[in-house]
């Protein structure tokens, strides 16, 4: 009997730990830094990991930078070698909290929620406060989190050479969508 208690406890804690977590391994993150009338500077990552703890609204996402795919292969190479330096900084991460998150607030249509957190890319961390995202329930009982972010290239210590400076926007728009399934 005495031996059983720790085992029962272990099961108990594991089930608590696993409860209320939704995750995806194939979330989408797209960024765009295009300038009108120049070639599109846009890439998509379809293998983003995202986890939310629905008990307290803790949210984390991880992007493997090499997984960003551009239409133009040379642009992809330059992005990895000169801007993101993905050999040195292979990951971009976000950690934060969705304020006042509760599953009861989530419906089939988009609910706007506010979050605070920090984003790390290219070895630099930027705090994001009071940003908003949309949360909704999907058709097969999953959670859909989506939104858009505006980021400045300068915040992440990325230098844009003069020669391409008029073809690249200083402000980058990041669009994300995660379909998280219950774990």
């Amino acid at each position: 009997m005495n031996r059983l208690i720790p085992i029962i406890l272990l099961f108990f804690t594991v089930s608590i730990g696993a409860q209320g977590k939704y995750l995806t391994k194939t979330g989408t993150v797209t960024f765009e830094a295009s300038v009108p009338s120049f070639e599109e500077v846009k890439a998509t990552n379809n293998n983003t990991t995202a986890i939310i703890n629905t008990k307290n609204g803790e949210f984390a996402a991880l992007v493997l930078v090499k997984g960003f795919r551009f239409k133009n292969a040379l642009m992809e190479e330059h992005f990895n070698e000169n801007y993101a330096e993905s050999d040195q900084y292979p990951k971009a991460t976000f950690k934060g909290d969705i304020s006042g998150f509760s599953l009861d607030k989530v419906s089939n249509s988009n609910t706007k929620m506010t979050y605070n957190g920090s984003l790390t890319f290219h070895g630099k961390t930027k705090a994001l406060n009071g940003e908003t995202l949309n949360v909704s329930k999907g058709s097969d009982n999953n959670l859909i989190i989506s939104g858009e972010l505006k980021l400045n290239v300068a915040d992440f210590d990325i230098e844009i050479p003069k020669i391409v400076s008029n073809k690249l926007s200083r402000e980058v728009s990041v669009i994300y969508e995660f379909q998280l399934n219950k774990k």
Partner: protein, 127 residues
Amino acid sequence: MKKKIILLVFALLLIGAYFGYNYLYQDHRDIQAEVADYSVKASDFITEFTSDSETAQTKYLNKTIVIEGEITTQTNNSITLNNSIFCSLLETNPVSESQNIKVKGRCIGYDDLLEEIKLDQCSIIPN
């Protein structure tokens, strides 16, 4: 004589434009056609990452790898080998049941949130 020079300059320009265009709009890597840099067993591959993820990541990042392992989870566009290697497939998953397979893909890094190694542009190598 003058005509010849003009013709020559024109030809050179054309060749230059051809190579310039091919450089700017070169093709993406074709992982399926590339010769693999490494060929490993899934269990050995995972051990390398769990013992030292930084070193393993530097070694394998952006490399074409063939991994032999057991399918533990699969969806219609991904396969997970030995619980910890997530392979995102180029085409719809052709495998219907769990079995030992060989997957060829590009390592994009180590996901420390889920403690998984991720590969993209994967294809299955028929036995």
